[in-house]
Structures are given as structure tokens and as C-alpha cells.
Subunit: 259 residues, 2 copies
């Protein structure tokens, strides 16, 4: 068939519809398609405008997260398949719970409780990035520890943005690595420490992008630093995650849902 | 009924199952429940361990995003309802497409194409936060502009993390606000500029948390700064978003999907 257009449609940001749709479509190997995300479809006029776009993009399907049944019905009128998470689950869940679903409160909007905590956490993670302000480590929920360029900063920001965790990060310097134990400033908060490690080859590659050919980036130095860091973290009973083949999102989920 | 436990289950990070489930449940007002996210359920042993946890937490339901039908089947065996996005959509979509769904490639894992672009974008956004390194603005996909504390940094980081946008942000200083036009360094990249504004009352509140009682935080000063910033952005034809009642995610979606 002609190239398929997949519309990810939402009455909010579209991030969930996009995630569900992308996962679904990745199950169909060799399928040739393009995607279009249409967020904030939250009234009849916007639904009608979208129907016109879909009709101009045949063949097309819609993967959506739309709380209002009237808007879902309007989209179905365009004759193309609509795969909507509320359509699929609201009614069966209502039956199971014995409670009727209400439309208005469907989406958990960003300004809901927890939102300001997440923004506060992002600001905290920025303020305590890369070993800054160690005197504030007591306020942290989590302290990421590892050698330079082990991937601490993106994980720390993601922990803040997604999970509202006040996450600091602390790079182990060559002086720290020569010591017998982790720095005192970290050991004072031992239960908050989470170690990040990675394969020396990967670390050397990352560091070489920054300082090509330097001793800092050499495989030999990376290997020694990682060995020393892992020894210190083991001695301090710090849980360690290997980030070599894991994404920021995966590492964050492992940290938050550990145990 | 007794307090319900809702399990958000995934063979990946659980973020999608969590988002779908939270939206779904918010439709049922007055429902008393607690949630438990269980990520990385990607083999039979983990599925069985989860079944035991679910059985100990009755009454319970499962909202999930599990690519492997065998794991979904194992969960259903615990007798509680399972609302799974793949269960709901894979088969109808396969029929429509005339292609069989494959299990293995189900989830788009974090290390997929696009992942390194997102990490690069985060590092870029950090490097060009708060007006730093203006000489690199040419590399940016987007440049957020606004007065101090208008919320540029979290939006910039989210644009990078979620959408792989290299987003810089530039605070308009009192000197910038006194000028007749936006700074030359910004006007050189006019098509990349996106303005953020907000209600003076909200800005004063945010600034007062930082510097209580200061002239910087006074309502009068906030009003003047915002007025001047909006005038400059209008004169420069910069699209402006009001962040007063919008979350970071909403602002980012509006910027990315504008037009």
C-alpha cells in the first residue's frame, strides 16, 4: 500500500500517544510510515481540522489518548482506524470498579500536584551538578557518584524531571580515586549514594570526543579510574549501575524502582 | 471495596504504562487506590515474581505495556484484570496492516537511533544555559528568550531530553530591556527565537522566593520588565508563549508542534 501516515493525537502534550504508538509500530518490521504528532486536540473545531488533515493523508491511522468520547467519535468519522487508550480501557475499567468514568478530569495536567516538586528538583539538580555546593548534599534525595563523564548529569536531570527526585551528582577526581575511602562529604550521606560505572572502552570513547588523544581520555587511564572508583564504591557499600548499554531512562528507572 | 492497588507494569522503564494508567485512573473520581510501578518485567521468572506480589495485594489491577504475549498471559493467570496497550491494539493493527506483529522488536529501547542526539542536546542545553557561550547560538535549533526566572531553563532541558532539540536560552537583562531592539546576537538567529512570558504577579512570586523583598522581585519591576520584553519580542516578530498556567511539558509541546 501507499506510505502510511500515523497520527499521534492527544488532548494534552501527545507524549503518551507518541510513546504508545511508537512502541506499537516498532512491532511491524519493514512497515514504511511517517508520523505526525498533533497535541492539544481538546475541542470539536480542532477535531474537525484534524479530520481534514487525516483525509488528505490517506492511508492513515490514528493512535490517540483522548479523554473526551465526543472527540474520539468525531475522529472515527473520518473512516480510518483509531486506536485510543481511553476507548480501549475506560469502559472495561468502569465496569470492574463499578464507578462511572468522568470526562473532564481525564488527563493529569502538568500543573497538578507534583509539578512544582519536579521543577524544584530540576533546579536543585542544576545547582548541585558536578560536585557543586557539597554543603547542600543533605537536602538531596539521591547523590550520583562516578568518574568524570560517566553520564551522571543527564541521569540526575532525568531523575528530577520525571520522578521529582532531588538528585545531586559528584565526580570522583583523581585525588578522590587515590584515597582509601570515598570522600567524607559523601560518606556522611552513604544511604543516598548511587554509583554509575561503565566499560573503560566506552568511557575512553566519550572522553576522546572531548579531549582527543589526552592522557585523561586514554584507555589505560580510564581503566585505572574505573577500577579505583568501583573499589571505593564497593568498600562503601554503594549500589552501582553499569551504564554502558543502558539509556538514561533505563538507569533512572532502575534507581527509582530498585529493590 | 478494600483499597485498590494498581500495578503499572512494563518490560521497559514503565514510564508509558505509568502515564496511561495515571490518566485512566484520574477519570474515576473518589477512587481510593495506591500505585506500584514494576519495570523491566522481561522474562517468565520476573512475571511469576510479579504474580506473587499481585496476589498479596488484592484487590489489584494491572495497567501494562508488555510486548511479549507470553508474559501478558502469565499475568492474566493471576485472575485480576490486565489492561495492556499491546494486548488491545497489536492484533487489530496487524489485521489492518496485513503484517504480523513480531515480539522482539516491540519496545523502542533507549539506545535506539535518536538516543545519542538527545544526550548531545542535553549537553548543549546545559552549555548554553542562561546566556552562556553566545558564540555557539548558531548551532542551536531553538533559542528561548525571556526575562530572568521566566522558566526558560527547565523548558530548554525538556526540549533537549524529550525532543532532541538543541535548545539555548538567553535571559533579557535590564540593559537589554532598555534597548530599542533585541540584542544583535539574538537577531542574527531570528527564526530560532521563541519568547517566554508570564503574568507579572507570578514572576514576582517566583522572584520573591529567591530574593524576598528585593526591588528585582517587586511587582512593579516585574511588570515593567515583562512589558519591555513583550514589546521587544513583538517588534522582532518572535512567537511568544505565556507560561503562567502551562507546564514545562505543555510549553515544549506547543513550541515543537507549532503551526
Amino acid at each position: 500500500m501507499e506510505k502510511l501516515t500515523v497520527f499521534f493525537v492527544s488532548d494534552h502534550t501527545g507524549v503518551t500517544a507518541d510513546a504508545v504508538g511508537t512502541s506499537l509500530l516498532s512491532q511491524f518490521k519493514g512497515l514504511d510510515y511517517k508520523t505526525l504528532t498533533v497535541p492539544f486536540v481538546d475541542n470539536h473545531d480542532k477535531a474537525m481540522a484534524l479530520v481534514r488533515r487525516v483525509r488528505e493523508s490517506m492511508p492513515a491511522i490514528i493512535v490517540s489518548s483522548l479523554t473526551d468520547p465526543a472527540i474520539r467519535a468525531a475522529l472515527k468519522d473520518c473512516g480510518m482506524p483509531v486506536y485510543d487508550v481511553f476507548d480501549a480501557f475506560s469502559e472495561p475499567l468502569a465496569k470492574f470498579l463499578g464507578i462511572e468514568a468522568t470526562v473532564a478530569s481525564g488527563h493529569t495536567h502538568g500543573m497538578s500536584s507534583g509539578y512544582h516538586d519536579r521543577i524544584d528538583a530540576v533546579n536543585f539538580s542544576l545547582a548541585l551538578d558536578d560536585g557543586l555546593k557539597p554543603e547542600r548534599l543533605g537536602e538531596a534525595d539521591l547523590i550520583l557518584v562516578g568518574v568524570s563523564r560517566a553520564g551522571k548529569t543527564p541521569v540526575s536531570l532525568y531523575l528530577a524531571m520525571q520522578y521529582a527526585k532531588k538528585s545531586a551528582n559528584y565526580p570522583l577526581t583523581p585525588e578522590d580515586l587515590d584515597a582509601a575511602t570515598l570522600p567524607e562529604v559523601l560518606l556522611a550521606h552513604r544511604e543516598k549514594l548511587r554509583g554509575l560505572t561503565l566499560a573503560p572502552e566506552r568511557l575512553a570513547q566519550i572522553r576522546n570526543e572531548r579531549l582527543p588523544g589526552s592522557r585523561y581520555a586514554s584507555l589505560e587511564n580510564c581503566r585505572q579510574e574505573i577500577q579505583a572508583a568501583e573499589r571505593l564504591m564497593q568498600a562503601g557499600n554503594v549500589p552501582v549501575i553499569d551504564s554502558t548499554r543502558r539509556s538514561v531512562e533505563e538507569i533512572a528507572a532502575l534507581i527509582v524502582h530498585a529493590g
